[in-house]
């Protein structure tokens, strides 16, 4: 009898273990394959459509190449322009006219927007809708007079329900108070679309060529660049107008930048003809000064990211698009830490 009781207790414990193991508490769910580490956005080469996402796990010191193809059994087949994460999904925006939607945990395909886009650039999610900035088709002089924001009424993708015309070459997007802010690069404008009636409510010219929005210390900025200055247009979150513009003198800035959320911004500069020397400059927003003009120099700098944990600087080097590129990892003071093999044209990072 005693032996039977022991067996009975053992079975109870086992059943209880199984029951609790099957609990659907999301806090107990195993982490997805790519929920940690660093996602590397590789744009791909023009005409080859070989954009891809790589994943680097610093704990294992392992690089996982071709994440999208590896998970879904088909190539990404596009030039990867942007990677946006929202509500458990990652949106892979190709400037070859499509958006792939994948599960943010493991990159398994959820859906896509594969028809109706032209030269898509970025994406924002609001109210279960997708808003995709798109240059539209080129005209005969390679201008983009028919740019638009494409609206898709399903966060998993599908057909485009509407195209909202905007000024030439919309790039970065930001959702604020039921409005969509649009940075129109070629037009040099900040435009605001009301998401209620999906029309452009305001359109103001800004200094420089606007590129992307970013938040720093709760403040919202629009980054823009000129030939010898960079501009940080601070946007009033209430009126959605430009509250102030921080102009910082910097020779030959490119549109490649990153920030640490603590008032520091890093910008890639390029000397152009004849030496084409690239450098990374560090700017302090509060002082509106260039703290270091050439923190690190080289050529072929194509992407930039700041690790939020240790402040290390990740630089994408395109290797002249002769084969795949590399990622250069730097200490905050610019000292080289290591290099990592990346894909074709590494152009962005997502630290998770």
């Amino acid at each position: 009898m005693r032996k039977f009781t022991q067996v009975f207790r053992f079975c109870l414990v086992g059943i209880a273990f199984l029951v609790f193991s099957c609990d659907n508490d999301p806090g107990e769910m195993p982490r997805g394959e790519f929920e940690g580490g660093i996602l590397i956005l590789n744009e791909g080469a023009f005409g080859a459509n070989d954009g891809e996402v790589f994943h680097f796990d610093p704990m294992l010191d392992a690089m996982n190449s071709d994440v999208f193809e590896g998970k879904n059994g088909r190539p990404f087949a596009g030039l990867l322009q942007d990677m946006v994460e929202a509500d458990g999904r990652i949106y892979l925006v190709a400037n070859t006219g499509k958006v792939e939607v994948v599960d943010a945990r493991d990159f398994s395909s959820i859906g896509a927007v594969s028809t109706g886009l032209d030269i898509s650039r970025s994406l924002a999610v609001a109210n279960q809708n997708l808003y995709i900035s798109d240059w539209g088709p080129y005209d005969e002089n390679f201008n983009s007079p028919d740019s638009y924001i494409a609206v898709v009424n399903d966060p998993n993708g599908g057909n485009i329900s509407r195209k909202i015309p905007v000024s030439s070459r919309p790039e970065g997007l930001y959702v604020q108070n039921g409005n969509l802010l649009v940075a129109c690069a070629a037009a040099g404008k900040l435009e605001v679309i009301s998401l209620n009636d999906q029309t452009v409510g305001s359109s103001v010219e800004v200094d420089g060529t606007p590129a992307r929005f970013f938040e720093d210390g709760g403040r919202l900025f629009l980054f823009a660049r000129g030939s010898d200055q960079v501009y940080f247009h601070e946007i009033n979150r209430g009126s959605l107008g430009i509250q102030q513009t921080i102009a910082v003198a910097l020779e030959q800035p490119t549109g490649i930048f990153s920030h640490d959320g603590q008032g520091n911004v890093w910008v890639v500069t390029s000397s152009g003809w004849p030496d084409y020397e690239d450098a990374i400059a560090k700017i302090t927003l509060n002082s509106a000064q260039v703290e270091q003009e050439a923190l690190y120099t080289g050529s072929g700098f194509y992407g930039l990211g700041i690790h939020p944990g240790n402040g290390q600087i990740y630089v994408g080097d395109n290797n002249g698009f002769q084969g795949n590129g590399i990622v250069i990892v730097l200490q905050p003071d610019g000292q080289l830490v290591r290099t990592l093999a990346a894909g074709r044209g590494p152009s962005g990072f997502r630290f998770r």
Partner: protein, 626 residues
């Protein structure tokens, strides 16, 4: 007597003809219009003339398709009917010189030729000269050269030829030709129209669930006309001229994942005139011509390049052992491109010598110097030779060897493109050596030919374009070491009324990049992209009476996608089948009725990554000869 002179100078070569009156059984009486023999000063070098039936079976298709399926050469095809560029011995597309009736037809602005817009209707004969041949042919011939020639004959009377082909995916080809010749005058006229909708189904790997879709932006329309004239003058001289106009209008097939709708029109006008004077020991030739290439991309980008040629050469024979050739060629190039305009003159002097110290020996020395706009291209010498190891009634075994230097003048785009062109770029240059064996085995009803060649080559100053800030610029930066083996086998045997033939090519190409273009480049020591190490093709033929059939297969090995060899495309193999019935009706009316099935097993394949290619497709051909 003209026949004698022609044989003295270069020997006769009876190629296949534009019209089907060039049959397999060749009548030796009619005299062809003379063209210099390509194998005249090439002892020990590898030259292969493509089978005339191969050319006939590819009517309505392009030189790119022909070389891909019937040779060991690899053609980078960007889709069905799209840009097709060749690689020979692991070199780039611009390292193969192309000639039409002796005129170089590589674009001086692009530095290469698009084989997809060279339809078979423009030539009767295709000859591949493998290996470095800059001393013989001038710029671009680093990997080799391809010669496309017309062949005219005298004393044939009136002949009319009509051909119609219908095929899958909206393909139709129409061709009409008329020829007239007597003992002193020969004329041949041809017009053609080729069209392919190219709406073939393909698996769209760029879309979720990889649906099978129809290709919808790959239509190709092509029109063309040819006119050839030749006169026998006073028995010892011959005047000939040929003109070829070709226009191609293409929708550019987008790479999977893109929705581009680019359009391209190519207009090509080629004209050549030759005067040949034949003497017992001394002969000479004067040649002139022009090549006009217009490329319009999306209507806005217009690029027009015209080349004017003038040249002459003289050949002499001194005893049984020595032959020489001296020549000069002047080229004036006028480029009006979308971002620049440029004029350039080129002057080339060349000298060739053949020496046969004994029956078993043959030696060739070729020298060339090209000067362009006052810049001296690398002096280009080449020496080659052959020695007969074995000579019996049924066997001939030759040992062959060649050493040569070649070069490529930077293209107009390399030097003048705005922005990015670098005017003082140097010529690309190469050094190569090869060693081979050639065996011919003949019996009364059996013939077997084998050739194996091992080569090594170094190409230096290789120009590549690199991004420099907001645009790209070329640099003389790359060095590549190439090595490999080419082999070729051909055999035929008669079994009663049956005729069996087989022919195969195998190529092994190593093309190793020796240079890193940046500090972080990982390309050094790696195979060049889209250069398969291995390729082979086999074609078998069986014929009896008026019926004949063939089976062809070609296999292309893995191709790396980028210079660092991280990812690659899978190898693929395609099978093709065809059958022909040669018919006769109403006495003088003859013709062929043929059926071809290409990609017999409906293999899903890509020559270049994400470029869809057609699956199984059918074609019916009807030819009428009057």
């Amino acid at each position: 007597m003209p026949l004698l002179y022609v044989m003295l100078l270069g020997g006769l070569s009876f190629g296949n003809g534009f019209l089907p009156f060039d049959r397999d059984t060749v009548d030796l009486q009619p005299v062809e219009v003379y063209s210099p023999a390509l194998d005249k000063f090439t002892h020990g070098q590898t030259i292969r003339r493509l089978d005339r039936r191969d050319l006939a079976e590819f009517q309505g298709r392009s030189l790119g398709d022909l070389l891909q399926e019937r040779s060991g050469l690899f053609v980078r095809q960007y889709g069905a009917g799209m840009l097709a560029s060749i690689t020979m011995r692991g070199t780039s597309a611009g390292h193969t010189a192309l000639f039409w009736n002796g005129l170089p037809i590589n674009s001086p602005s692009l530095g290469q030729a698009d084989l997809s817009i060279l339809p078979m209707e423009g030539f009767d004969e295709a000859t591949v000269h493998f290996g470095s041949t800059g001393a013989l042919y001038g710029t671009d011939a680093i990997g080799g050269a391809i010669h496309l020639n017309k062949r005219l004959r005298f004393s044939q009377g009136h002949q009319v030829n009509l051909q119609q082909a219908l095929g899958s995916f909206g393909r139709h080809n129409t061709r009409m030709g008329h020829a007239y010749s007597n003992g002193r005058f020969s004329s041949r006229t041809g017009i053609y129209h080729n069209f392919a909708q190219n709406n073939f189904p393909f698996i769209n790997q760029a879309k979720i669930d990889t649906p099978t879709e129809r290709q919808n932006h790959a239509r190709v329309a092509q029109w063309g006309a040819t006119q050839d004239l030749a006169w026998q003058i006073a028995g010892k001289s011959q005047l000939s001229t040929s003109i070829w106009w070709n226009h191609t209008d293409r929708e550019i097939q987008p790479v999977m994942g893109s929705n581009t709708s680019d359009q391209q029109q190519d207009g090509n006008l080629r004209w050549v005139a030759d005067y040949h004077h034949f003497g017992q020991l001394f002969s000479w030739n004067a040649k002139t011509g022009l090549i006009r290439d217009e490329l319009i991309f999306n209507e806005a980008s217009r690029n027009l390049v015209t080349q004017y040629f003038m040249g002459g050469e003289a050949e002499g024979k001194f005893g049984e052992a020595w032959e020489t050739k001296s020549g000069v060629r002047f080229t004036l190039i006028e480029g009006k491109l979308s971002t620049y305009a440029a004029w350039e003159n080129r002057l080339e002097l060349y000298q060739s010598v053949n020496f046969r110290p004994g029956e078993r020996w043959g030696l060739s020395l070729n020298l060339r110097q090209l000067v362009y706009e006052g810049n001296w291209a690398p002096f280009t010498p080449a020496i080659s030779g052959t020695y007969a190891l074995l000579q019996t009634e049924s066997h001939q075994l030759d040992l062959q060897s060649a050493f040569s230097r070649s070069f490529k003048v930077p293209t107009l785009n390399d030097r003048f493109w705005v922005p990015g062109g670098i005017p003082d770029l140097e010529s690309e240059k190469s050094l190569s050596g090869e060693l081979g064996l050639k065996h011919l085995w003949t019996k009364s009803d059996f013939q077997w030919e084998t050739q194996v060649t091992y080569f090594q080559m170094k190409v230096d100053n290789w120009i590549i374009w690199l991004p420099n800030g907001s645009f790209w610029s070329p640099s003389n930066i790359r060095e590549v070491h190439n090595s490999g083996v080419e082999s070729f086998v051909k055999g035929s045997k008669s079994l009663g009324k049956w005729q069996i033939e087989a022919q195969a090519d195998y190529a092994w190409n190593r093309a190793i990049n020796r240079t890193n273009v940046t500090e972080n480049d990982r390309s050094q020591g790696k195979q060049l992209p889209y250069t398969p190490e291995h390729k082979f093709q086999v074609t078998g033929r069986l014929g009896r009476g008026s019926l004949s059939t063939y089976v062809n297969t070609h296999w292309v090995g893995e191709r790396f996608i980028a210079t660092d060899n991280v990812s690659k495309l899978s190898a693929y193999q395609l099978w093709n089948w065809g059958g022909t019935y040669a018919w006769t009706a109403f006495g003088k009316m003859k013709g062929d009725l043929g059926l071809q099935i290409n990609n017999l097993f409906n293999t899903d394949y890509q020559v270049l990554r994400l470029r869809a290619m057609p699956g199984r497709n059918y074609q019916i051909n009807l030819t009428i000869n009057l």
